[in-house]
Symmetry: C2
Amino acid sequence: MFAIGEASRQSGVGIETIRYYEREGIVPKPERAPNNRRMYSAHDVGRLRFLKKCRDLGFPLADTKTLLSLSEGDGEDCRSVKELAELHIFNVREKINELKRLEAALNELTANCDSGNVSCPMLSKLRTD
Amino acid sequence: MFAIGEASRQSGVGIETIRYYEREGIVPKPERAPNNRRMYSAHDVGRLRFLKKCRDLGFPLADTKTLLSLSEGDGEDCRSVKELAELHIFNVREKINELKRLEAALNELTANCDSGNVSCPMLSKLRTD
DNA sequence: ATAACTTCTGTAGTCGCTACAGGATCAAGA
DNA sequence: TCTTGATCCTGTAGCGACTACAGAAGTTAT
């Protein structure tokens, strides 16, 4: 059994974040030592690692919670997992496209910024209707 | 002079957002009609449109505020504008790259999801150390 | 006169943490 | 044994940029 600091180190999830997950019901309340400190089993730490990986993949916390319960439930519902993941991939692709549009627009706006104009070409473009 | 609803319609900035900008000191406090309602001039509306464009380009609100004062100050500091914009473009590119990494990782994780496995391949990958 | 719309102020919620404050407890060295 | 420093506890507030109310007051249209 590990104290919260050790669980944090082993899982990569910050101490404050672990306590936050507990408050939000993402992870079950851990055992407490007689001195009231949280004690985590290897299984608990594994769960935190699982959460970390999901978050690093960009899944929203709510999805992460769902994935965790799918992972720990009996009979892994692979179809549900796939649906969740594909929706997420879709969202990621949309964000990429939006950012690419942004990048292009910004490039265009700043294109004439070096030509020693009197008034800033980017600002004047931002001011036009 | 326009009431806040009309200013919102003409600028594309939501009513609540306009009031928020005022609270935060992004825009100056507008005149008030005798009935205490905010009244916006065409110039005020133009400023809101400027803000909207900056936000649509993904500039943080703080940068947007800076751009606005650069735009309204005397002597447009084109160099400052350019620096701000290029830093922003850099950040956008970084985000794109991170999302692409995410997308690739997600694609790999879900690749084997259809082969009728007994246990979900994505979940088991998420569980391994 | 009545209904429906708009605006006002002030506050709280969103997401996922992160950073305190103020106190208790523990481990290790002198 | 004492002290120092690390770790832990609870509870609360802050981040960014809005968004969504509640409850009241004023305006416009029928």
